[in-house]
């Protein structure tokens, strides 16, 4: 058995250490509250990021954002071109 597979087998064993309680880690009230405020802050930051990117995109494109054709015809070869 290779060292890598030995390590993987050790990792797959159910933890017996007291640091890893059965049934998973139970968060305290304070930890739950902190996680909730972090989650809300991340959601707000992501939403703000999307809004800023959208607004700057519209400003950069100008009125062309609404009038641009979705599909553009490929350029036709000019007369006389072989």
């Amino acid at each position: 058995m290779t060292m890598a597979s030995e390590t993987m087998n050790e990792l797959r064993k159910p933890p017996t250490n007291e640091q890893w309680p059965r049934g998973g880690v139970r968060l305290t009230e304070e930890q739950l509250r902190a996680r909730r405020t972090r989650s809300i802050a991340i959601a707000l930051a992501l939403a703000a990021f999307v809004v800023v990117i959208f607004a700057v995109t519209i400003v950069r494109l100008g009125s062309g954002a609404l009038t641009r054709p979705i599909y553009m015809q490929p350029a036709q070869p000019t007369q006389g071109a072989k």
């Binding site: 990792l11 250490n17 640091q19 890893w20 405020t37 972090r38 990021f49 800023v52 990117i53 607004a55």
Partner: protein, 305 residues
């Protein structure tokens, strides 16, 4: 072969702790000076582009603050002024602060480059690098000139603001840079004079700790001598009007008188505390007057020339 797994305690850091990690008070001064740099530029900036640029500069400044707290956590824990910061208090781990800081730094620089322009992004990247790598990691623990050279990082935001608006640099933002650069030593040395025990305990070689109080008071006065004419320079160079010129003269006189009192003071620290408080007001009002002067359309400037 046995593997020992250790589990980190789930975080108790709330959103407020992360905001505190970004040094909101420093960030507000950075944003304000960057805004002035942007608005005094002789071009029209679309409000949305201007807002996006300011947001990126704000986040970049916050990232630099977080990375400073990450690296300086050991020093912060030993100083009364900084012992209440999120890492010494045990609210945020150093690893969390580093991850937060590097992520925000990367995002702010890339976003500024994509949404505004590459020069502004390059200046923001340089500012973060200078503050974290040059000031925090290198200079702060090794030389009493730490805040003099490191002050360049705090002086760059008006240049970033100007670059965001124009896409280039000129003498005007360089003068604004010089004002903040020469303002930094009197500001921080006034603070370090009455916090000398803190810095000595933390092993930070601030000028009063290394060269003594007398030499620090002398250098505060010398730097204020250089700062006062620099504050008036925008008027003398002709890109600010009389309203700014008069304000800069009055405010500069205030700084000069207080620096003189700091130099003559022996034993107490009253003048140091007054200079520290007034220096914040000085920089804020100086930049605010520049903004008022520019917003008034140079109305008062005609009387000056």
């Amino acid at each position: 072969m046995s593997v020992t797994l250790t589990r980190a305690e789930p975080s108790i850091a709330g959103a407020g702790d992360y905001i505190e990690l970004m040094k909101p008070r420093v960030m507000s001064l950075v944003v304000f000076t960057a805004l002035v740099g942007m608005l005094v530029a002789p071009v029209h900036v679309h409000p949305v582009i201007g807002f996006a640029a300011l947001l990126c500069i704000t986040v970049g400044a916050g990232a630099a603050g977080a990375l400073n707290m990450w690296y300086d956590a050991d020093i912060d824990a030993r100083m009364a002024r900084t012992a209440g910061r999120p890492i010494p208090r045990g609210r945020i781990t150093r690893g969390e602060a580093a991850g937060f800081g590097f992520t925000l730094a990367g995002f702010s620089v890339v976003t500024l480059g994509l949404l505004v322009n590459l020069l502004a992004a390059a200046l923001l990247a340089f500012t973060i690098f200078f503050y974290v790598a040059i000031y925090t990691v290198w200079l702060k623990r090794s030389t009493p000139q730490n805040i003099v050279i490191g002050g360049a990082a705090g002086a760059l935001p008006p240049m970033i603001g100007w670059a965001s608006a124009t896409g280039n640099l000129a003498i005007e933002p360089i003068v604004l840079f010089l004002i903040i650069f020469f303002w930094t030593p009197p500001h921080f040395w006034a603070l370090s004079l009455y916090r000398i025990g803190d810095y000595a305990r933390a092993g930070v070689p601030m000028l009063p700790v290394v060269a003594g109080e007398g030499e620090t008071r002398r250098q505060i006065w010398l730097y204020t001598l250089l700062l006062t004419p620099l504050g008036v320079a925008p008027w003398l160079l002709g890109y600010a009007g009389l309203i700014y010129g008069v304000a800069a003269l009055v405010l500069g006189a205030g700084m000069f008188v207080l620096a003189l009192r700091v130099r003559g003071e022996s034993g107490g620290h009253t003048a140091c505390k007054q200079l520290f408080a007034f220096s914040i007001l000085y920089l804020f009002l100086l930049f605010a007057m520049l903004l008022v002067d520019r917003m008034s359309g140079g109305l008062f400037g005609h009387f000056a020339t």
